[in-house]
Symmetry: C2
Subunit: 417 residues, 2 copies
């Protein structure tokens, strides 16, 4: 399968291409390998040549973007030219577009009615979340699927309309399976040295890859082959071997974020968590609450960005703020311990640091972050240096990740008892 | 310029390709047009053919990824084959890699020493943030630049090593400039109908594009041509016309997020803001604090995820919670008004809603969110329905955006007085 993403905004970098990752992931799970992804602009000849080059290598192309009603969207015209078809009005789509506009209390404009124009004889994939339908065209053994570029519309169409049709056609002729083991507290190269022998004994159709993220190394085993069941067995065997090799460096045997690992630990445990955040500005709370069902174990957060809020709401001692500064061990300790009481939880995580670009000093440069995790029986504190050239966004992200990791370790201590 | 991103993880969708957007943006700002971006796996023949196809269309290729020391990284080998060169040890890089390992208190392993292997005769671009250097190869009028795939390492190399060299070579022979106007409170098609005449009168080298985001339409004018100065003048003229056409629908004449627009309004105003968040779980606070300098106007937040925290810290009246439920106008009103006092601010934003996937009812389906903005003289409330099929992540994002927009409108009311 080859993916073609159309849009000047992608090439100009005004939009990050999240569609490619989503489609790649969904295809892999369905046993269809995405071999290439091409991004081009809203340009007739570029679209035409991408489709031609693509069909020289594969019989399945998915196109996203360029299906809107505005003048810069020309994908449908190029598809018609390529397949020698005419654009015709699809009455059902026209009805649907009218319905959506009526529900919004708006008149259907001439421009918008063109949403219902589709290549003659194609299968129209109804877009229940928007006005631009998906298009499915089969001709001469080739399949072209064109989808709107709006992520949530595209995602629903992929899952509900495209994948079921593809699975029916391909019957898992070729399967690509993968499993991910996540490690922390080790460098990529040390892990790689440790896994030399393991890697050498892997069968030819199973590959090991290292996917580093700040603070995390994800190890991915990818198996490809003809038979889904045998492949699954062989992948599972190698994965168990890998887990044994890696030992306690691993913290999750699936590709889920740290906040979801924490969610799994806490659900059903009766234990509750809260955060008291300064430099992370609510980002840890956001990550925790991005997990469905987190209301079971997340009480809330006090984001104490100013010293006034640290004092007034979190009862941080004036003395600690004055003598040691907001970014200090006693201040994060106060924050965590008092948040534990105030928010009535078993675990409170606190952060205070300098995310930059301003506010750094020689003694406490940008990137310095103090963290604390309080539990009814323990208080753990740690100082981090994420580097003064790292950038505000990255410092916030790394600090949040490090804090979640500290929290995970404390929860695991309790649950292992 | 053609960009080639290498990595199975990109095709499997385990990593979102943010590098493409960054490089596209930087190139556009430097007057170099990225015409295509190709993503392929860690596969020799795919890399080889992407380089060959690329050089058939352009004389400048940037490659990212596959420069690490682990066994799945094969880019350097393919580059050597393509240019008929040998891999040789670069002593300065070897020294640097050794230094980094020493600073981390680690021994340089055999695997890691291969970071210093480079194609013979290439220019080595020192990676001050990591061990894999960038590579610059010129041969037969073609330029190939290979960079590590780790975003912050790649970003520094692009800005400090690659762009200065490219600008010296290309001298702005061809320029691509763009400007973005952001609008809200209007649909793409209505805006498009309103701008038909404006679009018709645009010179041939200036294009208008619609870039919708949830709740926002970004209008982008792109100008391309030979002369940078003339082009700038002509783009500016058209941009002023566009602003006049759009009127009060526009809220920003640059491509910055809503939280940065709010930051510009508040900096130097002496006014302060806080949030009281339930369903958005701290995401609004995170967005506000992602803006450098936000500590000047952001006091903090109470994330009251549980009803207990709503009552105990934000003093939401028990009666309102019981009779109307947590997702209701009186509850968000209590939250906003009490947060204004508690956090001592001029503006307090409150949210309470059902982000799903569970917790919806017939009366209050998933996606229902109540919001309030309190100021010392006004209280504004609004109910939103983001749709029960929208997905948790999207509901949180849209709710946060809608809340920031409500806040912006209230701030502008005061500043216009």
């Amino acid at each position: 399968m080859i993916l073609i993403n159309i849009g000047d905004e992608l090439l100009l970098g005004q939009v990050i291409n999240t569609n490619a990752a989503f489609i790649g992931q969904q295809m892999a799970l369905a046993g269809i390998e995405m071999t290439e992804c091409v991004t081009i602009g809203d340009d007739e000849s570029a679209i035409r040549s991408a489709i031609e080059n693509g069909f020289a290598k594969t019989n399945l192309i998915v196109v996203t973007g360029g299906l809107g009603p505005t003048r810069d969207d020309i994908t449908k015209k190029v598809i018609c030219d390529y397949f020698h078809r005419e654009l015709v009005v699809d009455e059902q789509t026209l009805e649907w577009v009218r319905e959506i506009f009526a529900a919004r209390g708006m008149e259907l404009t001439e421009t918008n009615s063109h949403q219902a124009d589709v290549p003659e004889g194609c299968t129209v994939l109804k877009n229940t979340l928007g006005t631009a339908p998906g298009l499915w065209i089969e001709q001469d053994g080739k399949i072209l699927v064109a989808l709107p570029g709006v992520p949530f519309e595209m995602e629903k169409l992929i899952c509900e309309e495209v994948l079921p049709r593809l699975q029916e056609i391909f019957h898992h002729e070729h399967a690509v399976l993968y499993k991910v083991l996540q490690c922390t507290g080790v460098s990529e190269s040390n892990l790689s040295d440790q896994l030399t022998d393991f890697e050498a004994q892997l069968p030819e159709n199973i590959k090991l890859a290292y996917l580093p993220k700040p603070g995390i190394i994800r190890l991915r085993l990818t198996a490809s082959g003809a038979n889904n069941e045998e492949l699954q067995t062989s992948l599972n065997q190698q994965f168990e071997k890998l887990k044994a090799e890696v030992g306690s460096l691993a913290f999750a045997d699936e590709d889920i974020p740290m906040e979801a690992v924490i969610g799994k630990l806490l659900r059903g445990s009766g234990r509750r968590v809260a955060t008291a955040e300064s430099c992370t500005g609510g980002f840890i709370a956001h990550l925790i609450t991005s997990v469905p069902g987190s209301s079971e174990y997340f009480q809330g957060s006090v984001v104490s960005y100013s010293n006034q809020v640290k004092r007034d709401i979190l009862n941080v001692r004036e003395d600690n703020l004055k003598k040691r500064g907001a970014v200090s061990e006693p201040v994060v300790s106060d924050m965590a311990l008092n948040a534990m009481d105030l928010l009535d939880v078993d675990y409170a995580v606190a952060t205070s640091g300098i995310a930059g670009p301003d506010g750094g000093t020689a003694e406490k440069p940008v990137g310095t972050v103090w963290m604390a995790v309080a539990t009814p029986t323990r208080l753990t504190t740690k100082e981090f240096h994420f580097g003064k050239h790292t950038g505000r966004k990255q410092i916030i992200e790394r600090a949040a990740h490090a804090a979640l990791n500290m929290l995970r370790i404390e929860i695991e201590k309790d649950l292992r008892r």
